[in-house]
């Protein structure tokens, strides 16, 4: 009895299991991806780091402008690794899955996107971790479905319309109605939008060959007051 008690007391001494690094990966990639893609036959996991990209420093510095907010100096650094999952159904690419961490009001928020491999459209948006008073509202399927079909272009267009034509009916993101939130939940809603945008910006760099840059340039020109 005593011996067992001593052994069990060792549980108090043992260091906790290794927690995830600052990067954002799926907890159970094989199971999670199979859940998202029942027809999945295989998947590829690629680690992406700015340090491995050509002109990585410049690309990293450019994220701030594209995101419209500062990067966290501790948790959104140049060294932060990102994991891109490419899902295959036979030989066909079925989807790209990628997650990012964004600091929420009371803890980290992990925002994952499943995007179309050819168009970059969001097929599904979901959270892996979200501790928030707004968690129920934000995890709501109907709310998350509002982002389906959007691309990074829609986020840049939102910036463009905000500067050049506020309230435009063509502003798809502007039409997204936030779920009912109490004031404590608003920061996490904002962090969620930031997470989706950051995720799409990184995917544009890592996967889509910066195809949405013209939309960014147009938005920036509009913001500077110069009509395209």
């Amino acid at each position: 009895m005593k011996r067992t008690a001593i052994l069990m007391a060792a549980a108090l001494i043992a260091p906790t299991g290794a927690w995830a690094a600052i990067g954002c990966t799926l907890s159970n990639p094989a199971q999670d991806l199979k859940y998202l893609f029942p027809s999945m036959t295989s998947y590829k996991e690629e680690l992406k780091e700015f340090s491995r990209l050509e002109k990585g420093r410049d690309l990293y510095a450019g994220i701030r402008d594209r995101l419209g907010s500062d990067l966290d100096p501790l948790y959104e650094t140049f060294e932060t690794p990102y994991t891109v999952y490419t899902v295959f159904s036979g030989k066909t690419k079925a989807g790209i899955v990628h997650g990012v961490n964004v600091p929420g009001k009371g803890g980290v928020i992990q925002v994952f996107l499943w995007t179309d491999p050819s168009t970059g459209e969001i097929r599904k948006f979901f959270f892996q971790r979200l501790e928030s008073p707004a968690a129920k509202a934000l995890r709501d399927k109907a709310f998350r479905a509002r982002f389906e079909g959007m691309t990074l272009a829609d986020f840049y267009k939102h910036d463009y319309y905000a500067a050049a034509d506020p309230g435009s009916a063509a502003d798809r993101l502007g039409r997204v109605v936030p779920p009912p939130l109490d004031p404590d939940g608003k920061p996490d809603y904002d962090a969620t939008l930031r997470g989706i945008r950051k995720n799409l910006i990184l995917l544009d760099l890592f996967v889509y060959g910066r195809r949405f840059e013209p939309f960014f340039e147009r938005a920036r020109a509009a913001q500077k007051g110069a009509r395209p």
């Binding site: 011996r3 067992t4 008690a5 001593i6 052994l7 069990m8 007391a9 060792a10 549980a11 108090l12 001494i13 043992a14 260091p15 906790t16 299991g17 927690w19 995830a20 600052i22 799926l26 907890s27 999670d32 859940y35 998202l36 966290d72 100096p73 501790l74 948790y75 961490n101 600091p103 009001k105 009371g106 803890g107 980290v108 992990q110 994952f112 979901f126 959270f127 892996q128 971790r129 979200l130 501790e131 928030s132 008073p133 968690a135 995890r139 399927k141 404590d184």
Partner: protein, 423 residues
């Protein structure tokens, strides 16, 4: 011509070994492999014991007093986020504190807070939890003086919470990293107060983040013990008493234990006992491992004997001629024996070098096979381990070389020349 005799034997032995390069290389590789396994396992035994020592020393306490059965709950807590921790009456602290043998004592209240599950499936979230430790910083830091608050960007003005505070917390290094928290940030945790039907989401303020320690403290959320008790609705309870004794030895510990085991709800656990038990458990596994290493060494040894014997048989005629030309039994014996020694020495050097280079790989392999429950490096290949390996291999080489050397030296010149000619 003026070379010392040993040098001449050595040169000759090397020349003989070079004549069958592949066989020599394979024999050396066999010995190297066995030595590498032996060194790596020796390093693991040494390193793991050191890691256990470090982990237990980093707990800070010499003795813990906890509720009977509590360790089971602690294990559950560690593994599954169980909420059924057992608690001591808070007045146990006052009773034990008055014990003359106690140098310092700190009360700890441990609670398990629920976290929003981590998972992508709608409606099916995996359970997640975080360990909250209610402590008194003044006495806790006496036990763990190495706990330091992080400084620098994001952690400016970090401090320990005020004892009367109800919403201030200090995060362990990994808890902060996992939740991406900085000093001044909020931190949410859902707490189930004892005896209440509904869990409450609480918002805390991070006032400090600790430097990494490599212990359980890294993943812990610290808050004032009074606030923790209130949050979990256990105002008059605590989980552990951490104690340092004025004189710490097994006799004093037994005396202390006997004094406090009279309380029906209490059990006293000396960390030395935990250490001994853990090491005892590991020793069983280590015996098995040592047996495997011994078999590997035996196989290598047989390989060496076999290689040298083959070499002797192949050179039967040559040995006969050497004897006919005046070589004595001792000369032949020394020559063959030296060849065996060279093989074993070379193998031990190569194996030792490979073990040093591959220590990281070995560690990763061991960790991938089992959760060892300790932090820090668990493979410690010291110069002493290497010296033992080289000396041991050389000694075994001496032994392995005896039979082939005796066999070679016992040949009669005429028979050997005849047999060699017929080969």
């Amino acid at each position: 011509m003026n070379q010392p005799i040993l040098m001449r034997y050595t040169t000759l032995a090397f020349r003989n070994l070079r004549r069958r390069r592949v066989r020599t290389a394979l024999t050396v590789a066999g010995v190297a492999l066995a030595v590498m396994v032996g060194v790596a396992l020796g390093g693991f035994m040494l390193g793991y014991r050191g890691a256990i020592d470090r982990s237990i020393d980093m707990l800070g306490f010499q003795v813990m007093i906890m509720a009977k059965g509590c360790p089971y709950e602690a294990a559950t807590m560690m593994l599954k986020g169980g909420t059924g921790l057992l608690y001591l009456p808070a007045d146990t602290f006052d009773k034990v504190r008055s014990d003359q043998a106690v140098e310092s004592i700190t009360p700890v209240f441990v609670g398990v807070a629920q976290k929003e599950g981590s998972g992508i499936r709608d409606g099916a979230k995996e359970a997640a939890f975080t360990v909250i430790s209610g402590v008194e910083p003044a006495s806790y830091l006496v036990m763990k003086p190495w706990l330091r608050l992080k400084a620098g960007a994001g952690f400016e003005n970090g401090r320990w919470f005020k004892p009367e505070s109800e919403d201030e917390i200090v995060l362990g290094f990994e808890a902060a990293e996992y939740e991406q928290r900085k000093v001044g940030d909020d931190f949410y945790a859902t707490i189930q107060p004892a005896g209440k039907p509904d869990a409450l989401r609480r918002r805390f303020k991070v006032v400090g983040v600790l430097e990494r320690t490599g212990t359980q403290d890294d993943g812990t959320v610290f808050m004032p013990i009074r606030a923790a008790r209130l949050a979990f609705n256990r105002p008059n309870e605590l989980t552990i008493l951490g104690i340092k004794l004025k004189d710490f030895n097994s006799f004093k510990l037994r005396e202390f234990e006997n004094r406090w085991l009279k309380l029906p709800e209490v059990q006293v656990v000396g960390l030395q006992q935990v250490k001994t038990t853990l090491i005892g458990l590991v020793a069983t596994a280590q015996t098995m491992i040592a047996a495997v290493a011994a078999i590997a060494i035996l196989v290598a040894l047989l390989g060496v004997v076999n290689a040298i014997l083959m070499s002797v048989y192949e050179r039967t005629g040559e040995i006969g001629i050497m004897k006919a030309l005046g070589a004595r039994r001792g000369d032949i014996f020394q020559l063959v024996w030296l060849e065996t020694l060279i093989l074993c020495l070379l193998g031990s050097l190569v194996g030792s070098a490979a073990a040093v280079v591959g220590a990281g790989v070995v560690e990763r392999a061991i960790r991938s096979l089992a959760d060892l429950g300790v932090s820090g490096s668990i493979v410690s290949i010291t110069p002493k381990v290497l010296a033992y390996a080289v000396l041991g291999s050389t000694a075994l080489g001496c032994f392995a070389g005896l039979y082939p050397a005796w066999r070679a030296s016992s040949m009669r010149p005429v028979d050997a020349i005849r047999e060699g000619a017929s080969q």
